[in-house]
């Protein structure tokens, strides 16, 4: 009963091939450009020196940016958890009409570019906004926008696990005399800890690297490391200092990711035996009705108002309203490229980025799901790093590094590749839990019924993982549609994406330009919502993390 040497050899070759594709891709298109840029901060004048780090730490404004980055990320994470927790509960425990649409809708903000949302928030948080107080350029504006962007992460991740918690556990606690609050604190909350950790790490990651929100809403007083990297690079071309900041940012991000990955390793054992129970039901009684509709109302207002402002601005014609801006999207003014072309470009880029993200992401997910060990654990962390790397670092990294062996520095494929770097973590994080959940014994059942290994993968693993792949693909598509930062720092042929076209329109005076920008933003929003809605149809339970 000893496996033959030939079989082992074939397995080793297979494993090597499996590792090679994602490693090569990530190595060449992420780590190599990254190291090339960051190397400049360690070798400012060709010789090794840490002087740029001491520059960073000695400059007051940079020290402040580092401190603000940390504390606003912590505050944003905690606030998002608190604000989104009721909705997580409502989505987990109750069924109501339009639930899947609602769940898709709350995910739309997550992938909208800040350049679009920023304008809406400046209108909302001004003195004429619904709050009636001027929060513009305060830290509150930043925190509120961060909650807006990350609301869905908490609802989907925490709500996902919550839906799988046996409600009888809570009932048992109630019968033992615990009140609602104590039941939540002593039973639900500890059981939800893995999901809370997952959501927190993601929200922290996104807010730690916040750029557009801080730039647009923060005014002069607030700046994050990410903003400083951009400023040091584009305003001063001070690559040593920008690189030192990028290193510090990566260190912070890696620490969070490693801590989270350690935590996950530990919990994957204890969580295995939890029963999966479908518990959603209609709300009963006035109290539950109030909770459900109150929470949904708040969610709708909180997430919907900025989006409604956008749509409203796109419909403004002089003093009245109309569809003029939408009609004008198709025709070019004297010289401009018609904005509608950007829709086609974006769709093409997004399709390509999705294909790349799926191929690399699925292979990486297979690696992480099936080969447990130090290599795959580190690989999981490295895969997430692009989310924590500033767009300008990636863009300039391409420019510095990718001239050998073939000069790819200005290849059109770089744009979807940059998008896919951001999308791959989403594909991996959606696919891995599902792959891990395909029980070994399902495969064994297939084998006993006469299916050879490859057939087992095709007949059993693939159909089960396929839906997760579709979900990952939907996310990748939506992310690529909304990506702005990296795109704008890549030297690329003249094919503006939607966010770039919006930004160009916003850069010109004239009410029609502004209305067109808002109309194009609305188109982007609808395209995003459509791809997220499509995801909902294929979602298997709540396996993934997003």
């Amino acid at each position: 009963m000893i496996s033959s040497g030939a079989l082992n050899r074939r397995r080793r070759i297979g494993k090597a091939a499996l590792i090679a594709v994602p490693f090569t891709f990530l190595g060449y298109f992420f780590l190599y450009p990254l190291v090339s840029v960051l190397g400049i901060s360690f070798f400012p004048d060709g010789e090794f020196s840490l002087s740029s780090f001491s520059t960073v730490l000695s400059r007051g404004s940079l020290r402040e940016a580092i401190w603000f980055t940390v504390w606003q990320a912590v505050a944003s994470t905690l606030l998002t958890l608190v604000v989104a927790m009721p909705a997580a509960y409502v989505f987990a425990r109750f069924s109501f009409p339009g639930k899947s649409f609602f769940r898709a809708a709350i995910t739309v903000p997550f992938v909208l570019p800040t350049v679009v949302v920023g304008a809406a928030y400046l209108a909302l948080l001004g003195p004429n906004g619904p709050l009636g107080i001027d929060l513009r350029q305060t830290v509150w504006a930043i925190l509120i926008a961060h909650i807006f962007y990350n609301y869905a992460v908490v609802v989907r991740t925490v709500g996902g696990l919550w839906a799988h918690l046996d409600p009888r556990l809570e009932e048992a606690a109630r019968m033992l005399g615990a009140g609602r609050w104590r039941t939540f604190r002593e039973v639900s909350l500890p059981l939800l800890r893995p999901a809370i950790a997952a959501a927190s790490s993601i929200v922290f990651l996104f807010t730690f690297t916040s750029f557009g929100v801080v730039l647009i809403l923060g005014g002069l007083s607030y700046s994050t490391i990410e903003v400083e990297i951009w400023r040091q690079t584009t305003a001063f071309l001070d690559l040593p200092v920008a690189g030192a900041l990028a290193v510090l940012q990566l260190v912070g991000i890696s620490a969070i990711l490693v801590a989270y990955s350690r935590y996950q390793e530990r919990r994957s054992v204890e969580q295995q035996l939890r029963p999966v129970v479908e518990v959603a039901r209609r709300p009963r009684g006035r109290r539950e009705q109030g909770l459900v509709w109150g929470t949904l109302g708040f969610t709708g207002l909180f997430l919907g108002t900025p989006l409604a402002v956008l749509v409203g601005q796109s419909l403004r014609v002089g003093g009245g309203y109309g569809f003029d801006a939408y009609r004008s999207l198709a025709d070019a003014s004297a010289t401009l490229v018609p904005p509608v072309e950007a829709i086609g470009n974006s769709a093409l880029f997004a399709t390509t980025a999705t294909a790349i993200a799926l191929i690399v992401g699925i292979l990486a997910a297979v690696l992480i799901a099936y080969y447990r060990g130090a290599v795959s654990r580190w690989f999981d962390v490295v895969l997430m790093l692009p989310l924590g790397t500033s767009a300008v670092t990636i863009g300039f990294g391409f420019l510095i590094a990718l001239d050998t062996p073939i000069d790819l520095r200005t290849a059109p494929i770089l744009v979807p590749i940059a998008h896919s770097l951001v999308a791959i973590p989403f594909v991996v994080r959606t696919a891995v839990p599902v792959m891990r959940s395909v029980r070994t014994r399902l495969r064994e059942a297939g084998a006993v019924l006469g299916a050879p290994p490859a057939r087992v993968w095709r007949e059993i693993d693939l159909p089960l993982v396929f839906r997760a792949m579709l979900v990952g693909a939907g996310f990748a598509f939506a992310i690529s549609l909304g990506e702005f930062g990296a795109t704008s720092f890549i030297a690329r042929p003249d094919a503006p994406t939607l966010p770039i076209a919006i930004f160009r329109l916003l850069g010109r005076a004239g009410a029609a330009n502004f209305a067109q920008a808002m109309a194009l933003s609305t188109v982007l929003m609808v395209m995003t919502a459509a791809s997220i809605l499509a995801i909902e149809r294929f979602r298997v339970g709540e396996m993934g993390e997003f």
């Binding site: 294909a355 790349i356 420019l399 503006p496």
Partner: protein, 365 residues
Amino acid sequence: MLNRRPERLIGPIAAVAVALVLTGCSPNAEPSTTSPPGTSATEPPVGIVLMTHDSFEVSDVLLESFKNESGIEIRLLRAGDAGAMVNQAVLTADNPVADVIFGVDNSFLSRALEAGVFEPYESPLLDAVPDELEVDPRVTPIDFGDVCVNWDKAHLAEAGLPPPATLLDLADSAYRGLLVVENPATSSPGLAFLYSTIARFGETGDYTWIDYWTDLRDNDVLVTSGWEEAYYSYFTAASDGDRPMVVSYASSPPFEVIYATEPLDEPPSAVMTDGCFRQIEFAGIVAGTEARSAAEQVVDFLLSTPFQDEIPLSMFVFPANENAALPSAFVEHAVVPEDPLTLPSGAIEENMRRWIEEWTEVMSG
């Protein structure tokens, strides 16, 4: 025993991945731009890579007719905003990605020149360009625009305020809380406005630019990170905001007329002609290009009247070529300040970082 590792799938997937990467899934039908630019000037069509910023606009018709006349195909390479583009040009100076660069302005010019990005060229069309726009033989001026304070006519009239006339007026308590400017650290017009105050008030003397900004700050000036927010979220003539004075462009009013949602006779805002800073945009031939003569033709094309005629409406700046025809809305509503402020490019490169830091210190104080 049970082989649950799906390695057999890897072969085909890897092949697809490699194919995707190599074929490059180009979103436009143009040939790949990865080949070394410009091979031979005699065999048409020669490809010339023109690196430019995201605000650059040119009509397909014009590019097509240029290609037909000269046998030169211009491939556009977008590289972010003007600052990002110059930095990319500097980073690739040793191994350039383009033959011609357009859109370097006087703020960033000396950085590009110091890095040796350009090689000299004197276009025969320079005769039609005013001398004050020509600052260095290595670059050719293509257009210019003025960053000026704009004000909302209706709003100021309603408040019973006369239009501001000079930079000093802006610090007057009568205009308290009415001005919005952009952060020079994150915005190009913001930086231009900072330069104009430095050019006007200087670094030494009784009343320096720092004193001026201290007064502006005390007069409740609002700073935004970019022009988009200042104009579309705070400026009363273009938004529901509460600031009737904004740092914008001298060409903004004609744009209000041309790009109105309902026909307008008069732009709702006007330009303060004092304290304007002149931005000049240059084109240059990238040092080391293998298609020098085609690159020269492209620079000439940028300075030729067909292209120069398009400039006002495509990029809302003024053409450098005096023979270019201005559209009627420009003639009617655009203002060209008589004595715009400027700073020597070298002084800018040398001091920019310090100025921005000092400005930040004043404003956060």
